[in-house]
């Protein structure tokens, strides 16, 4: 699909084309919801009540974290991975295993803006600023995992709060959202249709085909939605950015979140600010809150995906989507709220950027090490020692 913007960047010029683009976005969102539902349905069809045992390989929280990190780094979209995780939870993946996975998705998504910052590789100071602007997001997310994953393993705080919130929203009382959910009836017919079409393959092969189709459709729909919204919403994103200039960090966080919701991609939001810092117009501390807002804004896709889930596991799907939001909100409050923690990502990003300017091997070692080598070694090591 070709997407073009007007010279002033205010989205699509021709109103007819604009309507078509918005219609495409709406259709793709619907496709995304169907796709998430297909994954859940596929697991139910192929594994039934045994679905939980299929995820035993990821029962180690560190393995879950690594899976989330590497999958997101490879696909370069945390929205895609969290939507797939929501679908997997609907299919029987225990929420306790899914929590480290969404934490890993937060880390994995930061590879995109790091690669974007490499566009400034040949300009010494510009590269130092751009690389620091990209990796501040990485360090924030790594610190967040270092704080909250051990707490989650020991106390299960996110899990318990997620259960409480999901029950509050889906509970049987009159304040619940259950009766207001119009998405489920809209999604059910095509899922049933695909299920019937694949019935001939048998329950196992049919279920696996549904899962595979769901994953492919999530990837395609989120990629195309991202491409469309990037151009359709750039004008609006500009307005929000203008409004945030000269304001405090809370406005920065809010703007980062809103822009991410508009473009449906935290990678796009955090990548857009890399050149802004690279040129020296914005500094690292000014864009720091903006990147944190991107973490919060990206949760909207998972929440949207959760609305499509039907059946007994709907509450768990909503739970993991709410946990993702809660984790990112609490992470910002704790790490950005406490001055000594707030400074850590800044110091680490600046130190790494200084080293990367001196020797590009540091940048290469960082990307390969953080996103692939260290996660791979952890998984291999834990397999070898049988943890």
């Amino acid at each position: 699909m070709t997407v073009t913007s007007t010279p002033d960047g205010d989205g699509i010029g021709d109103p007819r084309t604009r309507w078509m683009q918005w219609l495409s976005v709406a259709s793709l969102v619907y496709l995304l919801l169907v796709a998430v539902s297909l994954i859940g349905g596929g697991f139910k069809l192929s594994a039934g009540d045994q679905a939980k045992s299929l995820f035993d390989f990821a029962s180690n929280p560190v393995a879950g974290l690594v899976i989330g990190t590497v999958a997101t780094a490879l696909i370069q979209s945390s929205s895609t991975v969290t939507s797939i995780i929501v679908g997997l939870v609907a299919g029987g993946l225990p929420v306790t295993i899914a929590i480290p996975m969404v934490m890993g998705a937060n880390i994995g998504t930061t590879i995109t803006n790091t690669i974007v910052s490499l566009g400034h590789l040949k300009e010494g100071d510009e590269f130092r600023r751009a690389f620091a602007a990209a990796t501040i997001h990485d360090f924030f997310n790594v610190i967040s995992v270092l704080i909250f994953l051990p707490l989650e393993i020991v106390f299960g705080l996110l899990d318990k709060t997620g259960v409480w919130l999901a029950k509050l929203m889906l509970g049987g009382d009159s304040m619940s959202m259950k009766g207001l959910n119009f998405i489920k009836p809209l999604v059910k017919p095509p899922v049933k249709l695909v299920g019937n079409a694949l019935e001939g393959l048998g329950s196992t092969a049919g279920g696996i085909s549904m899962i595979a189709l769901g994953i492919v459709l999530i990837f395609v729909s989120i990629t195309v939605i991202g491409k469309l919204l990037k151009v359709l919403m750039v004008g609006r994103a500009k307005q929000f950015l203008h409004a945030a200039i000269g304001r405090g960090p809370i406005t920065g966080i809010g703007t980062g979140a809103v822009v991410t919701v508009l473009v449906q991609s935290s990678s796009t939001t955090t990548s857009l600010i890399v050149p802004l810092v690279g040129t020296g117009v914005f500094n690292l501390r000014q864009i720091y809150p903006f990147t944190l807002g991107a973490n919060i804004g990206t949760c909207i896709t998972g929440l949207l995906a959760a609305t499509a889930i039907t059946g007994d596991n709907a509450v768990f799907a909503l739970e993991i989507a709410l946990i993702h939001l809660l984790y990112n909100l609490v992470g910002v409050v704790v790490i950005y709220g406490l001055p000594f923690l707030r400074e850590l990502p800044v110091v680490a990003a600046e130190a790494l950027a200084d080293a990367a300017v001196r020797n590009k091997l540091y940048a290469a070692a960082y990307i390969v090490g953080v996103f692939f080598l260290i996660p791979g070694t952890i998984v291999l090591g834990s397999r070898l020692i049988g943890v």
Binding site: G119, L121, V234, G246, L276, K360, L361, A364
Partner: protein, 75 residues
């Protein structure tokens, strides 16, 4: 009033004047920076293209890393 007291008051006044002048300059600088930031925000769509050059960027890093490695072994 002793000479020292007069000198101290003079210095305090000069410091106050310098500080207010400095504040004024800082405010002017902030204003210019904000104008630059608004100008940069106006060109946000120009940066959209940079997101699509990821493979080229990785290629550049690969080339730069190989050069650094060669330099390392030459020493």
């Amino acid at each position: 009033m002793s000479t020292l007291e007069t000198r101290r008051q003079e210095l305090r006044k000069r410091i106050q004047n310098l500080e207010s002048a400095l504040d004024g300059l800082k405010a002017q600088l902030a204003e210019i920076q904000e104008l630059e930031q608004h100008e940069a925000a106006d060109h946000l769509e120009d940066y959209l293209d940079q997101i699509d050059h990821k493979f080229r960027n990785l290629g550049d890093l690969w080339t730069a890393s190989i050069d650094e490695l060669k330099g390392l072994f030459r020493r």
